[in-house]
Each structure stands twice: as C-alpha cells, then as structure tokens.
C-alpha cells in the first residue's frame, strides 16, 4: 500500500509507479542513500558527507533558536552523534534524510529548554524486520523533493508562517504574540501555505 505521509497530497497510485520493476535506491536522494549506508554498514565516509551537508544548516537552526555560538556548535555535535547511533531506525518509507534528521534536532532543541526531557513515543522497529516497499519509498522521496521545490514558490508571508510553525516550531499563539497579528490570521496563513503546497504537489506529480 502506498501511504502518502507528507500530507494527503497524492492519490494512491496517481504517481503510476509499479514497485516491482523500480530500484528504490536509484530514486533516493544522495543524502538518504548516505544515511542508509551509515545504517547498514556504519559507513564513516557517508557519515562525513552527511555532516558536511547538515551540520552548518543545523547550526543555523540552533542560532535562529537563540543559542550562543559555542552552545549551538555543541548541540550540532550531539544531534549528528545521535544520527550516527540511531541510524538503525531510519526508515525511508516514513521519512527522507532531511526530515528524519530535522526531527532529531527539533527534539534536542526542545530538551535544551525543558526542565525534564520531553517524553518520546516508542522507537520504530529496526528496519531489517520490514520488507521494503519500493513504490512507497519512491513516492515519499519524490514528495520530499517536490515539497522543497514548492516551498520556494510560496508567497513570502505564507513561507514565513510555515517557517515559524515548522522550522522554528513556535506555537501558533506565540507567533501571534511575536508578530502582533491575530491568532486567526496566523492559523489561516499556515493553512493557506499548506493548501498551496498540497496543490503544487498535485500539479507537479507526473
């Protein structure tokens, strides 16, 4: 079954993939391939490439969150070390490399600000136990690519609202306080941004 994880974006089967004659690895982004190499063979060179790509971006994310330079640098080390240790849980059916690593970074940033760590859901089962479903992996990875393209075409205020809600992970009520805009306006900008993404992803899908 092809499950669209990002949003109810694409109808099942609409992408026209036939799983059995596709090689999912060919369709993965280089980053997701590197993450799978870390997962399956503890590949240090692949991890080095992930570090080179993500570490400066993660540092920028932490600096945006108000951390000082030295702390941001330490948090990036923690996040990437967690990527190395938790790689066994990376499942390309459910996430691309950027989304999965972002999730780890988001939790780390949250725990920096809390008295006790945020309770976490059960870990996903280790990936060996699942049959890879090529169609789903390809669809999810394509969605991730299209999502990134579509984000670049959003109206600035929609992009900014999504950035505050999904990248800085600021609660909607707090965005409203910070911007002085009514909560309803914030929510509708986020909703419009998501709608627009959904529409873009439909029209891009081959």
């Amino acid at each position: 079954m092809l499950r669209s994880t990002v949003l109810p974006l694409v109808d099942e089967g609409a992408l026209g993939f036939r799983g059995e004659d596709q090689q999912p690895m060919d369709d993965l982004s280089e980053l997701s391939r590197d993450l799978i190499a870390v997962r399956d063979s503890r590949d240090r060179a692949a991890f080095g490439r992930l570090f080179d790509h993500f570490a400066p971006r993660l540092k920028a994310m932490m600096l945006r969150g108000g951390l000082r330079d030295g702390t941001a640098e330490d948090v990036v080390q923690d996040v990437m070390l967690a990527v190395w240790h938790k790689a066994g849980q990376f499942d390309p059916h459910r996430a691309d490399a950027a989304g999965w690593i972002y999730g780890i970074a988001r939790n780390r940033r949250i725990d920096m600000a809390r008295r006790r760590p945020l309770a976490q859901p059960d870990e996903m089962p280790e990936i060996e136990s699942l049959e890879p479903d090529a169609a789903q992996i390809i669809a999810l990875q394509q969605e991730a690519r299209h999502l990134a393209d579509a984000l670049a075409r959003l109206a600035p205020e929609q992009a900014e609202a999504l950035r505050a809600a999904y990248f800085d992970d600021i609660p909607h009520s707090r965005i409203s306080e910070m911007t002085g805009l009514p909560l309803g306006t914030i929510k509708s900008r986020i909703r419009l941004g998501l709608e627009r993404l959904r529409h873009e992803l439909r029209t891009i899908a081959p």
Binding site: F54, M61, E143, Y166, D169
Partner: protein, 210 residues
Amino acid sequence: MISIHHHIPDDMLDAYRAGTLPHAFGVVVAAHLSLCDQCRAGQEAGDMIGGALLQHAEGATLRPDARDRMMTALDAPPPPPPLRASGPFPSAVMHELGGRPPRWRMLGGGIRQQILTADREGSLRLLYIPPGKAVPEHGHRGHELTLVLQGSFSDSGGNFHRGDVEVAHADIHHQPVAGRDEPCICLAATDAPLRFHALIPRLLQPIFRI
C-alpha cells in the same frame, strides 16, 4: 492494527511539537503517538516540512575543528536505549514506572491507582478499573487527558478503547464506567488536582492526591 477514534486535539499536538506541554500531558501524547499511526504520521509530516526548510536554510560557519571532533566522537559507546514498551505500557509509561510493573494502591470499589508524578504543574497516574465498575463522578479544575491502555470505558463523551484519548475540560462532570470484558487500565493526566462531588472522596483527595 487497532482502530482509534478519539485523538489528541491539534492544538495539543502543536504544543507537544513545540515542547511547551507540561510533563504529564507530554507523557500521554507520547503514549498516544506510540499507538496511533495517524497522529504519528502527522508529526512526521511536520518534520518533513521542517526538513525541507532545513535544506533551504543558509548554513552557518562551523568551527575549524568541528569535523575532526565529530569523527573522533563516533568511537564512543552508544548511550543506553530507552526502556522498551511492555504489556499494555508504551515506552514513555515504562519510563515513568522506572521499568517496573505498576505498584497499585487500592482506592476502594476495586479501583486501583498509581501516581506517577504530582506537582504544581499537574498530575499523572495509572488507573485500574475492574470490569463494569465506575470511577466516582468527578469534575476538574483544569484539563484532564485520559488515554486507554487496556480494555475500554464509556461515559457521556462516548466509548473509549485502547489508544483512544478523552479530553475533559473544567466544565465537564463525567463518570467513566469500564467495559465488561476485561479490566480497564488508563493513563490520566491533569493540569490541576481533581475534585470529587461525593463528600468522602473529596476529604480523601489530599491523601490520594487525585
């Protein structure tokens, strides 16, 4: 696959994502996400958007030794894994239980509870209700979030099975009754102490801390 009909409200999922929920509610949300693929996929979808924005972000300059420091750190032993789910209890609940089975205290009428945390932020407890039994009618000062871990219960809000969450607000007075098939085990969080209507439970409230 269990089918779940009562989910965590969106506002609360947003607050969980942002890390602003009090601890007791955070545990209930984490436990629900462990059982509810729909809500979990929603959280992962948020991370996909976050990941796409991360890809767009302009990187900050790292310190010159950052990469060497990183590659050296890979040789350290990994941290211990989180406690695993056990029986009806998801990993987040096992963590609150300290990895041990519950140590129930009798509340009367066959109902048992274990307080997991109780402080000014609110309380978190496990409740055990024998088949067909009712929890004394109670109201709340704040919100109460109740997740079914085993069996089922019903009240004026509907029927709740494993994975379902009931959200009760300050103005709701409810009297949950456990299903007849098996004992019902719930995880309940409040952001204020409960108040009972019958005189005796109210007098006992400070002792039982419910």
